[in-house]
């Protein structure tokens, strides 16, 4: 098995549970892989939904500022020491989800305000939202004590270093909820990805469908960012690659994106913790390292991206 500490396969299934190798597998690596899979699947599905909704392959929660909104909420929760938890959801998660909702509301409002919003203005709005939230996060860090600052900074890098099944189990219901919601909206996403007017004329209750998509994305991104930090570009790359392979029909695209996104983040995380072993890199650094060039490639690719408008 791959990692800083070699774990022989035979050790894993030995009945003696006190073997440190078996402990590493069951208590550290397995939950980590599960978490990476869930987070990757959720982020990829959220990206797919936003790309359809904004009819733009560059529009994802990360590029439109939803992750930084969630980050701000989480940082605020850390800073104010909201440790109170309700319904098994921690204060940080609630803060991140609130932040995600806020950012989505801003993005949504901007999209509504300028109805004929082009790809360019949409992305610029995302950049502006990102800057705004980032400056607020910096402000929080500046006023925080050393311990909180480090916690926020480390968290902002994005990482999957969790011990035990607590984290994956906390993410699971929200990602599942979001995915079921998106699965029920596959037909609506197909039509919305063509045009909102057309969707309405084919019988989609457009506002209701959009609200549900925003809700599903907020649930998933909020809780994933709260626990794993803002892991960028998974939602940009995975749906795009799946669409190239399978075409734009969301009934097939959603399951493919879930599988691909999950697998992608597991592989990225495996690479992140082995490339400089025994030093483990935060996975967010790794995905951004891949995603930045991919984003530029999409932007510069000859085609009609610039004109693809609402």
């Amino acid at each position: 098995m791959i990692g800083g500490q070699a774990v022989p396969l035979t050790a894993i299934f030995q009945p003696s549970n006190h073997d440190p190798a078996a402990m590493i597998f069951w208590k550290i690596r397995l939950p980590r892989v599960l978490l990476a899979w869930l987070a990757g699947a959720g982020l990829a599905a959220a990206g797919m939904a936003f790309q359809a909704l904004f009819r733009n392959p560059l529009a994802t929660p990360f590029t439109l500022g939803v992750s930084s909104g969630a980050s701000l909420g989480a940082a605020l929760a850390v800073r104010l020491g909201w440790s109170a938890s309700g319904l098994g959801v921690s204060g940080t998660s609630l803060g991140a989800m609130g932040g995600a909702f806020l950012a989505i509301a801003i993005v949504y409002g901007l999209a509504r305000l300028k109805h004929d919003c082009t790809a360019g203005s949409m992305l610029l709005a995302g950049v502006a939202v990102n800057f705004f939230f980032s400056s607020l996060i910096l402000l929080l860090q500046y006023t925080a004590d050393f311990y909180d600052t480090f916690r926020i900074l480390r968290w902002l890098m994005g990482g999957l270093q969790m011990v035990g099944f607590d984290a994956p189990l906390r993410v699971l219901p929200w990602v599942a909820l979001g995915c079921v919601l998106l699965a029920s909206l596959a037909g609506e996403l197909n039509l919305l990805s063509v045009s909102e007017d057309l969707a309405a004329s084919r019988g989609v209750a457009v506002n209701r469908a959009k609200t549900l998509v925003f809700l599903a994305v907020s649930c998933m991104v909020g809780v994933i960012v709260a626990i794993c930090g803002p892991i960028g570009f998974v939602g940009l790359m995975c749906p795009h690659i799946c669409r190239l392979l399978l075409g734009p029909d969301h009934r097939y695209l959603l399951p493919a994106t879930l599988l691909f996104g999950g697998a992608f983040l597991v592989i990225c995380d495996t690479a992140a913790r082995t490339v400089f072993a025994p030093t483990e890199l935060p996975v967010g650094i790794f995905t951004s390292f891949l995603g930045g060039p991919f984003f530029l490639w999409l932007l510069l690719k000859p085609g009609k991206l610039g004109e693809a408008s609402a």
Partner: protein, 267 residues
């Protein structure tokens, strides 16, 4: 016994940001009729269609669809009764194939979790066959010409299985051959399938050739309503378009066609 009109529009008005776009438009479209909505640019023709399809909300007035108030329809119920073909143009962000796109027309009939309707496959193939786009079925939409794309849009609306078709400038930007094909296709839909057609056009000759009824809008107001045959009248056209027209007779059909009175022609 009076037949219930397919669509009864009663003083429909719409203002956007205080600016009136439609002012008390009324019309009674009988089942199986062909209607052309004409008028100068900015008269509110396309907006009227969008109000009827409830793409635009916030309008006042009463619209009855086969005797039932439009306001009580769910969007899905509405789409089973009415199909709409938007103005051509606009890039697709994600290229569907022609068959996939036509299949999107079946949305209103899908069930729980988007499960397909038993008639989906036959309806889709039927629509593709009727519009004669079988050869394009595997191509993606972005590789088609404007005329081919318009036929695909019609096929998707046809797959929707509605008895009323709202068309926004179906022949705009098409070359002559495709204009003729699309016009013939629309006529066949009306005559063979009994589909009621309401078509927006800025081209008076297209309305004259389509026959049926004409509703003329100017500045959001219905300024003329009558049979297409009666439209070929200098005073009527002058009042709609505020410019002079001359008439030519098509020797083969005897149909009067119009030429706007430009300086060069009058010289």
């Amino acid at each position: 016994m009076m037949m219930e009109p397919a669509l009864a529009i009663n003083s429909l008005s719409l203002s956007i940001r205080g600016k009136p776009i439609l002012r008390g438009v009324s019309a009674n479209v009988g089942a199986g009729e062909v209607w052309s909505i004409i008028g100068p640019n900015g008269a509110g023709k396309s907006t009227l269609l969008k109000c009827l399809m409830r793409i635009h909300g916030g309008w006042t007035g009463k619209v009855l669809l086969r005797g039932r108030d439009l306001a009580v329809f769910s969007q899905r119920e509405l789409a089973r009764q009415v199909a709409y073909v938007p103005q051509a143009g606009g890039n697709q962000a994600f290229p569907f194939t022609v068959r996939e796109y036509v299949r999107l027309g079946r949305y209103a009939w899908s069930g729980f979790f988007g499960s397909p309707h038993p008639e989906d496959a036959t309806r889709v193939e039927n629509a593709i066959e009727r519009t004669d786009i079988g050869g394009l079925a595997q191509r993606t939409l972005d590789t088609l010409s404007g005329g081919e794309r318009q036929k695909v849009f019609l096929a998707a609306a046809l797959a929707q299985g509605s008895g009323l078709l709202l068309l926004d400038e179906p022949a705009a930007f098409l070359d002559y051959r495709h204009q003729a094909e699309v016009a013939a296709l629309i006529r066949r839909l009306n005559q063979d399938c009994g589909v009621t057609i309401v078509s927006v056009t800025h081209d008076v000759n297209a309305a004259l050739q389509a026959g049926g009824q004409v509703l003329a809008l100017r500045d959001g107001e219905a300024v003329w309503n009558g049979r297409a045959d009666d439209l070929a009248d200098a005073n009527v056209l002058q009042s709609i378009f505020e410019t002079d027209f001359r008439f030519l007779e098509d020797p083969s059909t005897g149909l009067r066609l119009v030429v706007p009175q430009g300086e060069r022609i009058s010289a």
